[in-house]
């Protein structure tokens, strides 16, 4: 099978899998190729093709390191939102984002530890985030009562368009922060 044919099949696979995303493992299975490097080449060629072609309305989003998703080009979103049947995802509240960022930076973490940082009960927010599959239970802590530990999921990375948690901005060191809050 030549390279172009492989591109075409992967392109179709991205379309078929849609929102759920396609992993390199999926492509290995479909193309019956075990060489990850070759697969990445095919994907990158596709990404480049989409980028270069101004008459193409789609792009490939890479998230969670080895997962890819076909989406409409972001610059065109205003046109699509004219459609009344577009079900836009409800944006997360500030409180949810705060909770998520704590879990992203400090996970695996217990709910009590998150609550301690935020100074608020996070019961309902945890429930919502679990329902949206943005966080997941990854076992029990050794603390008294064996509370559950949580971390963020691949859906979290997809939602915030991140390749991995390494993409998160670094939290500044404390001494600088201290000045920032209290030195004004």
């Amino acid at each position: 099978m030549n390279f172009k044919k492989q591109m075409a099949i992967v392109e179709g696979l991205f379309f078929v899998n849609g929102d759920e995303g396609t992993s390199i493992e999926d492509i290995k299975l479909i193309l019956e190729i075990n060489d990850e490097k070759k697969i990445v080449e095919v994907i990158n060629a596709l990404i480049e093709k989409y980028q270069k072609d101004d008459s193409c309305g789609l792009e490939i989003q890479n998230f969670a390191k080895t997962k890819y998703r076909m989406i409409t080009k972001k610059e065109n979103v205003e046109f699509y939102t004219k459609l009344s049947n577009i079900k836009t995802e409800t944006k997360l509240s500030t409180a949810s984002i705060e909770t998520l960022s704590i879990i992203a930076y400090k996970g695996p973490i217990t709910r009590a530890a998150v609550e301690n940082i935020r100074g608020v009960n996070c019961d309902a927010i945890f429930y919502k985030l679990k329902t949206r599959n943005l966080i997941t239970n990854v076992g029990k802590s050794d603390e008294v009562g064996k509370p559950s530990l949580y971390k963020v999921t691949d859906s979290f990375l997809k939602y915030f368009n991140l390749k991995s948690l390494d993409d998160l901005p670094k939290i500044e060191d404390e001494s600088k922060n201290e000045k920032d809050i209290f030195g004004r």
């Binding site: 849609g18 972001k74 979103v77 998520l100 940082i117 935020r118 915030f160 809050i181």
Partner: protein, 253 residues
């Protein structure tokens, strides 16, 4: 000060994600170091807001109340004459440090939420479609590790509901709590014996539940026992019209 107070009165608490958020904003607006904060004044401000929102959202208010109480505790500790707390001389400093640390920790998180908000807005611009359904994977009945399902689950649950309804009328003492422990194993044994003793080949599940003491109190255990017996191939469960039939297939061991 009066200016600040005026400003604070316009602040809606809904704009804050929690008491620490509000505290952080207060400190920023006052442009003072946390080490110079008048805790009593801060507590008073807090209480004012709490009064304002208590009618609207008591749960929200309670979070802030906890924080206000924390300030008051801190303040009262600071008011204790130094000589008397010599044994615990560092306590005051420790408390301040703890609050400071909590605030710093929280502030760090606050600083990055902007990043997430921006990423969210950007990310929501790319629309994608749901995964296409190509084929529904069908596994041959023979390959299933389970017995073929010949029971309509809706009907199955309805039968249980009906049994519960019936037992409600039969039992007078529904408000008496008994704490007899029942185990599905025991009940499974009893069901087995019952079927053998009365040489029952087939019986409606509904009727079985109503036999003896297999009812209400032990409904869950009975339910599990029936499933357990079925999995051990001692009984067979199948559907006949609107009824679920339990068939005794044990060889009378």
């Amino acid at each position: 000060m009066s200016n600040l107070k005026e400003r604070w009165n316009q602040v809606e608490l809904e704009n804050f994600t929690g008491p620490l958020d509000l505290l952080l904003q207060m400190i920023k607006d006052k442009q003072v170091s946390i080490l110079e904060i008048n805790l009593l004044e801060l507590s008073n401000q807090y209480l004012e807001y709490i009064k304002k929102i208590a009618d609207k959202d008591i749960e929200l208010a309670s979070e802030y109340l906890v924080m206000a109480a924390y300030f008051l505790e801190l303040k009262s500790k600071f008011l204790i004459p130094k000589e008397e707390v010599l044994v615990d001389g560092d306590y005051e400093e420790d408390q301040r440090k703890e609050l400071l640390n909590r605030l710093l920790e929280y502030h760090k998180i606050k600083e990055v939420t902007e990043f997430f908000k921006e990423q969210q807005i950007e990310s929501l611009k790319g629309l994608s479609k749901a995964k296409s359904i190509i084929k529904i994977t069908r596994i041959d009945d023979e390959k299933l590790p389970l017995a073929p399902n010949n029971i309509n689950l809706d009907k199955f649950s309805k039968i249980f509901l009906r049994a519960i309804e019936k037992s409600k009328f039969r039992t007078v003492e529904t408000n008496i709590l008994t704490t007899t422990e029942v185990s599905p194993e025991e009940i499974a044994n009893e069901i087995k014996k019952h079927l053998i003793k009365h040489s029952i080949d087939k019986i409606k599940l509904e009727d079985l539940i109503e036999q003896k003491d297999f009812s209400l109190r032990m409904l869950v255990a009975t339910f599990m026992a029936v499933l357990d017996l079925a999995s051990k191939k001692l009984i067979n469960i199948f559907q006949e019209g609107d009824d679920i039939i339990v068939e005794n297939i044990s060889k009378g061991e």
